[in-house]
């Protein structure tokens, strides 16, 4: 074998070796990522697990059906929205009547109510069905307040609709 080729190959091998070694050394010199420094605590630990796996990400993206609400007689159309701005209204879909007169949010039931007119609510693409109804409620001043209820048709769970004070005022203020 030609001597110059041998030297070239040897230099190449040495170069590769040096490249790997430098890479590892630099890695070692950089060290682990920085962590908050805690002194004097009784216990310090990490309880973090991995970020959602691809499956969960898919699942998260799949929980989408946004309920579209339509009265069965077609006289009124409602849409359910989740509040975008009010953190206090967590998990409280807003209900806006098509005439804009009312905006209400879902809240847990305070008591059981007797069902009256029941507009059907169907989640788009999910087959889920809800029933909305409005029933009278005696207000503090003796006024009758409309208070729609939402009843899940399959399970019979009932969630009352009542205006969370701040949110309703906020929504009315927008109109």
């Amino acid at each position: 074998m030609n001597r110059s080729i041998i030297w070239l190959l040897a230099a190449l091998l040495i170069g590769i070796m040096a490249w790997f070694l430098l890479g590892h050394w630099s890695h070692a010199l950089v060290g682990p990522p920085p962590e908050p420094i805690v002194e004097g605590a009784d216990e310090v630990g990490w309880i973090l697990g991995p970020v959602p796996e691809a499956e969960l990400q898919k699942e998260v993206g799949r929980i989408l059906p946004r309920p579209l609400v339509e009265y069965s007689n077609g006289a009124l159309g409602l849409t359910l929205e989740r509040p975008q701005t009010s953190p206090s209204a967590f998990a409280r879909p807003l209900i806006e009547y098509s005439n804009g007169a009312l905006a209400m949010a879902l809240e847990r039931p305070q008591s059981h109510y007797i069902a009256l007119p029941r507009p059907l609510v169907e989640y788009a693409g999910s087959g889920m069905a809800l029933v909305l109804e409005q029933i009278p409620e005696i207000g503090s001043l003796g006024q009758i307040k409309p208070r729609p209820l939402v009843e899940y048709a399959d399970a019979g769970w009932i969630i009352g609709l009542s205006p969370p004070v701040g949110l309703l005022q906020e929504e009315r203020g927008k109109k």
Binding site: M1, R3, I6, L9, A10, L13, F20, L21, H24, H27, A28, V30, P32, P33, P34, E35, P36, I37, V38, E39, G40, A41, D42, E43, V44, G45, W46, I47, L48, G49, P50, V51, P52, E53, E55, L56, Q57, E59, V60, G61, R62, I63, L64, P65, R66, R82, P87, F90, A91, R108, Y123, A124, S126, G127, M128, Y152, D154, A155, W157, I159
Partner: protein, 279 residues
């Protein structure tokens, strides 16, 4: 140089690479885990539907714990474990779950779907320190997490009908998708009138998203939580939370004080940090 020499050099190189003596374990110790950042933006874009669909977890959830069981979940069997039902379909249930011996404001939300996913979470408007489960804690090993307890309540129901192993629980903060670490530092004080202190420094290179705390008092007295020598408040409630994210400065040695004024009771303090490092 002969072929023998070349072969020797070759073996040397391969040997060094195989032995890899300089590799640094970047996962470190103490359960530290370096994680990938999920592509939530792309996911959300993909998830958009003509119905203006939104992702409730991304919109509403903050700190979360989740498991994936290797079996389907019959939603009817577990719906009774919920304190309140917020949303339900033939595919999933979302509701609040009461935890034993904890007040209402500690209730986590839980999402369960029939394919085996269980996600327990607090809303993004709540401090992540709500995950600290003080009930049953007496010092030493880190407290459990309330979110894991919520998942276990679902799991216990399921285990009545099937012998399934409890899967490992993973954590994630939907409010801060870039966060890859959560640190919990705890301190307890059982001395009447005694003040305990610990210190926290956020170094350069750590991107802090949230610093919140959880206070718990076992007796009928009061306790106080302080930061940098100033009392944040005096708490007579058994369990209290707070957020001090805006008070944290990088490369500053902050102090946290815990004051207990009852000889028969113990006060506990945990500071939770949600942050990103190593990326």
């Amino acid at each position: 140089m002969k072929i023998k020499h070349l072969t020797a050099i070759g073996f040397l190189v391969v040997g060094i690479l195989l032995l890899n003596p300089f590799e640094w374990d970047r996962t470190g110790d103490n359960n530290g885990i370096l994680l990938e950042t999920p592509s939530f933006i792309a996911l959300a874009a993909e998830a958009q539907t003509p119905q203006k669909g939104v992702n409730f977890l991304q919109q509403e959830a903050g700190i979360s714990a989740y498991v994936k069981l290797d079996q389907a979940i019959d939603l009817k069997t577990i719906k009774g474990t919920f304190k309140t039902i917020e949303t339900v379909s033939d595919q999933y249930i979302i509701g609040e779950m009461a935890l034993p011996n904890l007040p209402d404001y500690a209730d986590p939300h839980v999402y369960v779907n029939k394919e085996g996913w269980i996600v327990a979470y607090y809303s993004n408007s709540e401090p992540a320190s709500k995950i600290v489960q003080w009930i049953g804690y007496s010092g030493g090993v880190m407290p459990r997490a309330t979110l894991e307890d919520a998942i276990r309540q679902i799991f216990d129901i399921l285990r009545r009908t099937a012998a399934i192993p409890f899967p490992s629980v993973h954590y994630y903060d939907f409010e801060y998708p870039a966060a890859n670490r959560i640190m919990v530092a705890t301190k307890l004080s059982s001395q009447n009138g005694g003040t305990e202190t610990f210190y926290l420094t956020i170094p350069q290179g750590v991107r802090l998203f949230e610093a919140s705390w959880s206070f718990y008092h076992t007796g009928s007295g009061v306790g106080r939580v302080g930061m940098d020598g100033t009392w944040l408040a005096k708490y007579t409630r058994q369990l209290f939370y707070g957020d001090v994210t805006s008070k944290i400065k990088v490369q500053f040695k902050h102090s946290f004080q815990l004051w207990n004024n009852e000889s028969s009771g113990t006060s506990y303090l945990a500071v939770i940090l949600i942050y990103q490092t190593g990326q």
